[in-house]
Subunit: 355 residues, 2 copies
């Protein structure tokens, strides 16, 4: 058995999540670039428990050590290994203009400024609802992305369960949608949005409190052209957010947008999501843009399972949590799903850790 | 029945391919921006027969007319319709730095220059094999994209059936792969690559002729870490290129890259491809970057079905053909497919038209 396979197997035992050889390679490659655990998670595109399991397995085998400043450093044995395996330092070529999104937020600078101005006293992300806001640049780029696909102008848009990002507010501010409905469990966000709409005289947008574990009422089903969400990455939450999102679409050609991350779910789980989307729900995936959504590290980081399972106590120094931006299109015969969901494993499972 | 549904239904009759309401909307939106048919195809993300069917249906209904310079123009009736429906002009916000790829080709300028220099007398795209080369900027961005995911350094890379793009040559020129094998049906490209490898003393790369309708020999199966391809968009060709590509992967964690376009296949067919990838082949899709691959209009354009079904005779004036860049990852239990393929419908079906 090769050393990488052995390391993968041990990492899996320690982390309690699926890991394969390639994951170990990518952590080693990241460690040639940075000793910061959270940057390593980011560069290796892994769930926190997986990256942590790999680092701990490497420590066990004497390949890396953690120094007094909590930097993870390769030992001579570790350096010999990466040399022997021909693993090079992580290198990314991400576009500095658009931050890799393909759509630069500054393409509509006045809109960006207005969004910043309007949201300067936005509610802070809180742990109760697995919140973690994306950067304002991300939110604005989402709107421009959607508009460039013809998915806002004169459309009925529903934003469900992700309003900590204020995407619904941004879509309404863009002033091209026919109507905008925002549903979220957090009364603070709903009040915030409704207050802004009132102040600015935006009368085609409204926000209301809803717990997505409950089925949608009839007046929301089959009424929208486009939905936007940002679900937790458990399978039950995926159904509650995306299944219900699809259920709100009027007809074939309806569109959904959402973020999915590899920091809280593995590529194994992604396949499950993709099978569910294409076979069970009857939609096609038109876009998956990795690292489109950049998250501001939440204040409650130290209380999360991520902080507990990490091999270091040091907090993230900058952005480390990103998610991919999915766009889906409902095809003829698509399925509307609107069942109740139990509380169990709604936010957290073995791969997730940032709640 | 709404006018859009009626138009979609008539477009479907004329074009002989699936069309729904949203497609008609997007063509109308594109027509508010350009009268050039090929630009309209590009902006509306549709197969040529679908876009053509829609334009012809709009002409029939007196919504558009084709002027003496073969510009497609909205009539007053058409303008009234778009106003009534609230359809706005197509607007894209694509990043001008990276051309929307998220990875700018100029991040490694010396490499880009070397690639241009080495390939300045490259073989021209010919019709026999459905060739159509991507721009050199695309090819270079592909290499940087792959390298940023750890998919080149010290890897065994196979490029199959798409060497008119010279992606295999570029990967070899990047000089980080452990080995590069290029297989293509076109002897001219194979000779070109092998000559360059010899001239530059690149001894870990080799090109050989292979017709992908035939199963791969044993010495290629299960031997590669990464494959790259750019299949025609028929289901049989997808199997021959992508199924066989997956069959060459050594193990789980193996990676595939390929282009898929919405100009020669619909979003309906994309769902079929995605179901096949995730269920039959057992891979996860990690990336779908729309319009990553930009193609140089082929010299044989006038001989294609696309030119025949188009509502105008005027040739494309610039880039109009793009494809999305897919990345997939093989998961435990992935399936190797290596059956023979018949000649029937290999290159062309009802949605495809550019062969």
């Amino acid at each position: 058995m090769s050393i990488l396979v052995e390391l993968a197997s041990r990492s899996k035992e320690i982390g309690g999540v699926r890991v394969y050889k390639k994951n170990v390679e990518r952590v080693l490659s990241a460690l040639l670039r940075s000793g910061d655990f959270w940057e390593v998670v980011d560069m290796s595109d892994l769930p926190v428990p997986a990256a942590s399991g790999i680092v701990k397995a490497l420590v066990e085998r004497g390949m890396v050590f953690i120094d007094e400043e909590e930097n993870i450093r390769l030992t001579q044995k570790g350096l010999d290994l990466v040399k022997e395996l021909g693993i090079g330092a992580y290198r990314d070529y991400v576009c500095s203009a658009c931050e890799g999104r393909g759509i630069p937020f500054y393409a509509e600078l006045e809109f960006y400024r207005e969004f910043l101005q309007v949201t300067k006293d936005r509610p802070k992300a809180i742990r109760d609802y697995d919140q973690g806001s994306v950067t304002p640049e991300t939110t604005v780029a989402r709107v421009l992305f959607m508009d460039s696909r013809g998915d806002i102008e004169n459309k009925d848009v529903l934003v469900l369960g992700a309003e900590d990002d204020l995407t619904g507010l941004a879509v309404a501010l863009w002033r091209k949608a026919r109507s905008v409905l925002i549903v979220d469990i957090d009364q603070r966000l709903i009040d915030f949005d409704n207050r802004i709409f009132k102040e600015l005289g935006i009368d085609n947008a409204v926000a209301r409190v809803w717990d997505l574990r409950n089925p949608f009422p009839q007046d929301i089903l089959g009424r929208y052209d486009v939905f936007v969400s940002d679900p937790p990455e458990t399978l039950p939450a995926f159904r509650a957010f995306i299944g219900r999102g699809i259920a709100t679409l009027k007809e074939e050609g309806g569109v959904g947008y959402f973020g999915l991350t590899l920091r809280d779910s593995s590529v194994f789980r992604w396949r499950d999501f993709q099978v569910s989307l294409t076979t069970e729900f009857g939609v096609a995936i038109t876009d998956i843009v990795q690292d489109f959504n950049t998250y501001i590290t939440w204040d409650y980081h130290q209380e999360t399972k991520a902080a507990q399972v990490a091999p270091v106590k040091r907090q993230p120094q900058g952005v480390w949590y990103r998610s991919a931006w999915y766009r889906i299109e409902a095809l003829p015969g698509f399925r509307r799903w609107n069942e109740p969901i139990s509380d169990d494993v709604f936010y957290l499972d073995e791969e997730g850790s940032t709640t």
